[in-house]
């Protein structure tokens, strides 16, 4: 039999309520328009002030072109991404199981939470001197810093997620005869997934910011190194701004991907 009370209004209302005074076709172009306006203002400002330090957009575009011709840019981007993902995945591998443990066993969380909360506000960059002593000028130093930067958001997201699984879900799981292991896999993990994804995105944002700073000290490649090297080597501020732009663009792209994943997982709720 068909249920007359079925309604699917969750999607419909959202669209109806979204207030937009701009025609739909324009929406896609809005970011391009702002970018164009900012580029124009930037150009005019550089010309008008006659600054020797801040490069014009055209100089920056030329710098990016030169860098990419020498394939230096791609190598640096590759190095940066390799480091950030290595540290980030290490943090996931350790952070998620640890977060599950802390979330599941209350006494464990009570024992370790003060420590976590104390270590959390310490900027990962504060570990830099130690990282350099431990790992020298090598990939391991920035990877370690990335790991430090991304581990807490992941641990905390997993811990709070597990802690806040509705008791009803657990009770139902137990009622159907699930062992603790099965309960973890079939109930707890899917229940916390959306929260963990949010934590992962947050962690990645921090990791990307920390990476650039880490590369200014501990290594001799990567986007962070590009910036500090361009300044030290010859006050090439066009290269500095080019590096900054690349960091921003790649950060945006990666965040867009993470957001997609986030919407995809939460859409099924």
């Amino acid at each position: 039999m068909k249920n007359p009370y079925h309604h699917r209004d969750t999607e419909g209302t959202e669209k109806a309520l979204s207030v937009s005074s701009v025609p739909l076709w324009l929406n896609g172009f809005l970011p391009l328009i702002t970018t164009a306006i900012i580029l124009v203002i930037w150009s005019i400002a550089v010309k008008a002030s006659g600054t020797k330090i801040f490069p014009s957009p055209i100089a920056v575009a030329k710098a990016i072109a030169t860098l990419s011709e020498k394939s230096l840019l791609w190598r640096y981007i590759g190095d940066s991404l390799t480091r950030v993902f290595a540290g980030y995945f290490a943090a996931i591998l350790i952070g998620i199981p640890l977060g599950f443990l802390l979330g599941w066993y209350g006494p464990l969380a009570r024992a370790f939470n003060p420590l976590i909360q104390m270590l959390r506000p310490i900027s990962p960059l504060a570990w830099m001197p130690l990282a350099v002593i431990w790992f020298g000028v090598s990939n391991a130093a920035p990877i370690f810093l990335i790991f430090l930067a991304s581990r807490f958001p992941i641990i905390v997201a997993a811990m709070n997620g597990v802690r806040n699984v509705p008791p009803m879900y657990l009770q139902a799981g137990r009622n159907f005869g699930l062992s603790t292991r099965q309960l973890m896999i079939r109930v707890v993990a899917p229940a916390v997934l959306p929260r963990i994804i949010v934590g992962l995105r947050l962690a990645f944002g921090i990791a990307w910011v920390v990476l650039v700073a880490a590369e200014m000290i501990a290594v001799d490649s990567g986007l962070g190194y590009l910036i500090i090297d361009a300044r030290n080597a010859g006050k090439r501020y066009d290269l500095v701004v080019a590096g900054m732009l690349m960091i921003g663009v790649i950060g945006l792209l990666l965040d867009t991907v993470m957001r997609r994943v986030e919407t995809w997982t939460s859409e099924r709720r």
Partner: protein, 244 residues
């Protein structure tokens, strides 16, 4: 006797919640437990389900003492108990993890049909109304073929029209499946519409104040003299409880 409560008492810290509950529920009986909120009726159901251990006394089902949750007796919550990450099918088949795929599919299809959710097998709970989610939960419970169902105010979050519909649905399913049902509610009308027997509990600490046999044949005429008489009797009982 299917379910036997033998002198069950419960306390949370210094607070006494249940006092000397002794009650027998027959096989296949539909038994409602009503009482003012906070009287411990949900606690009683959780004890029977094996989720809580009583402070004293015991619950036995088929003469076996209840010590832990068991798939032979399933607890049904308000519709918030369905798993949002599973489809209707996935939810209904949740407890059927140790039978082979073909049989699981058949069982799921059977219970989708029984609760009237055909065509919604692939839908996620967020796409369903409250009443439909409640059906999913009932089907999920029935699919593992339990012999006792514990329902804890299952229709409490539904609008009144859906609630009425769900009551007759539940009765239809109960007749088809012949389960023993313990149904906790604070809605007196609901209890008189559904139950073979209504157990009226006092305010906290909960004691059994009265057990009322509802000797009205199904489908029940809600304006018949006997129905109104029994309903008013229970209202009277609860009213007294409020005056204490």
């Amino acid at each position: 006797m299917k379910v036997q409560f033998d002198d069950v008492s419960m306390r949370f810290g210094a607070m006494e919640v249940l006092q000397h509950i002794t009650l027998d529920v027959k096989e296949g009986e539909f038994c409602c437990i009503v009482g003012p909120s906070g009287c411990g009726k949900s606690t009683l159901l959780n004890i029977a389900g094996g989720f809580l251990a009583p402070a004293s006394g015991s619950v036995t089902i088929d003469s076996e003492p209840v010590t832990a949750p068991d798939r032979r007796r399933i607890f049904v919550f308000q519709e918030r108990g369905v798993f949002p990450w599973l489809t209707v099918e996935g939810n209904i088949g949740f407890g059927l993890f140790d039978i082979d795929a073909a049989e699981r599919r058949a069982r799921v299809a059977q219970y989708v049909e029984l609760v009237g959710l055909k065509g919604f097998e692939k839908s996620y709970p967020r796409e369903l109304s409250g009443g439909m989610k409640q059906r999913v939960e009932v089907a999920r419970a029935l699919a593992v073929n339990p012999d006792v169902l514990f329902l804890d105010e299952p229709f409490g979050a539904l609008d009144s029209i859906t609630r009425l519909q769900m009551r007759s649905e539940l009765l239809r399913i109960w007749r088809a499946e012949k389960k023993t049902v313990l149904f906790v509610t604070h809605d007196i009308e609901e209890s008189v519409q559904l139950a073979d027997r209504v157990v009226v509990m006092s305010a906290r600490p909960g004691r059994i104040q009265r057990v009322v046999e509802i000797d009205v044949a199904h489908p029940r005429d809600l304006s018949s003299r006997r129905y109104i008489e029994l309903r008013d009797l229970i209202f009277g009982e609860i009213g007294l409880a409020h005056q204490v």
